[in-house]
Point group: C2
Chain length 211, copies 2
């Protein structure tokens, strides 16, 4: 196997290292975060750092870097206390990727990339009409990560919209049927295929397939 030491990693060209390290931890979620500014202009930005934090209460987390395009999302959600999380699906990967361009704050990425803004049940942040799984979230807390000045946001999942057909009897969502994609590195999008689901693991007992 090829080995990279800490010194090797430090010596890599920055762009090479960014592609490398962004892909080395494995597959990531791919979501569009929708917010709205005080002047009513909506914002949409792609994130690959949204993670599950807990089911009871339903909590998610995501990481954002200050001083980047995502700063608009942060300012908006801090002010309004609400945002949406919308799964990127196969049909919109190019448009979703394009939301990472540094647009002027007077422009809405919805219009610029060609996705449809929708407001549901009086929730104050915009959802992406084209998404098959969408969450309405409220800001809960944030942790400043002193190691690299990132901000780790914690939010409550309070509203969920799904295509009913993708939910199995035990609650699990079949993301393959929803067309949800996964992100790899800075710029790759992939479509998974379920290999298997396994029973709850217990010592001395072989897990069986529950697919």
């Amino acid at each position: 196997m090829k080995y990279y030491s800490k010194e090797d990693l430090n010596g890599l060209p920055p762009r090479f290292r960014a592609h490398f390290i962004n892909s080395v931890t494995g597959y990531k979620s791919s979501n569009l975060i929708g917010t709205v500014a005080e002047n009513g202009i909506s914002n949409l930005a792609i994130f690959s750092s949204v993670i599950h934090l807990g089911s009871n209460p339903p909590l998610l987390g995501f990481v954002l870097r200050p001083r980047t395009v995502t700063r608009n999302s942060y300012d908006n959600l801090k002010r309004s206390r609400v945002f949406t999380v919308n799964h990127v699906n196969t049909e919109m990967i190019e448009k979703a990727h394009q939301t990472s361009a540094k647009y002027d704050p007077d422009l809405s990425e919805f219009t610029e990339v060609g996705l449809t803004e929708e407001y549901l049940n009086d929730f104050k942040a915009p959802f992406v009409k084209e998404s098959h799984i969408k969450l309405g979230c409220t800001y809960q807390n944030e942790y400043f990560l002193e190691e690299n000045q990132c901000i780790f946001i914690i939010a409550n999942i309070e509203h969920i919209y799904i295509n009913e057909s993708i939910q199995s009897e035990d609650g699990w969502l079949n993301l393959v049927e929803a067309g949800t994609v996964t992100a790899s590195g800075l710029d790759a999008y992939a479509l998974p295929k379920i290999l298997d689901r396994f029973s709850y693991a217990e010592p001395g007992k072989k897990p069986h397939s529950i697919k």
Copy 2:
């Protein structure tokens, strides 16, 4: 679309809610974290919360819950300050899943599930021989998430081992060629297929494929 309000979510049976909320944020990474106890007994546990945090310096994060099987991992890595992150691949999903069983701390999950422990370049934590992408990490910091008593660990990526053939010229790793799987919910494993890679997004410019 089917709508779940906050009240609907609160009223769900706990197991249904766990499957639902664990899958609703999208695909997750799937990694085995290897540690060793003071008495020399190794520990291996599957995690779906490992995320990229930064490339310069190379940092990753992951979430762990106190009072679960993963507590062994935490005690070990806090004491030894080192651990490994090993990609789960298609050939080992059943064994990897089985590491989530609550084994007696006197037993090594490596032996119990049938994966091979290896020590590389004097690094003090055990790697998984069968993994095609493995990282040697050092503990950097932790944040206690008061919302649900989880611990968010931050670590330095200091050693990387990869099959050379999976790295492209720009540094990106082709996780499909590595057989790396993604996790969905509590118990599903999926194998992605790359749809596309896109150029760096700029306003007013259509991204082009760089696959």
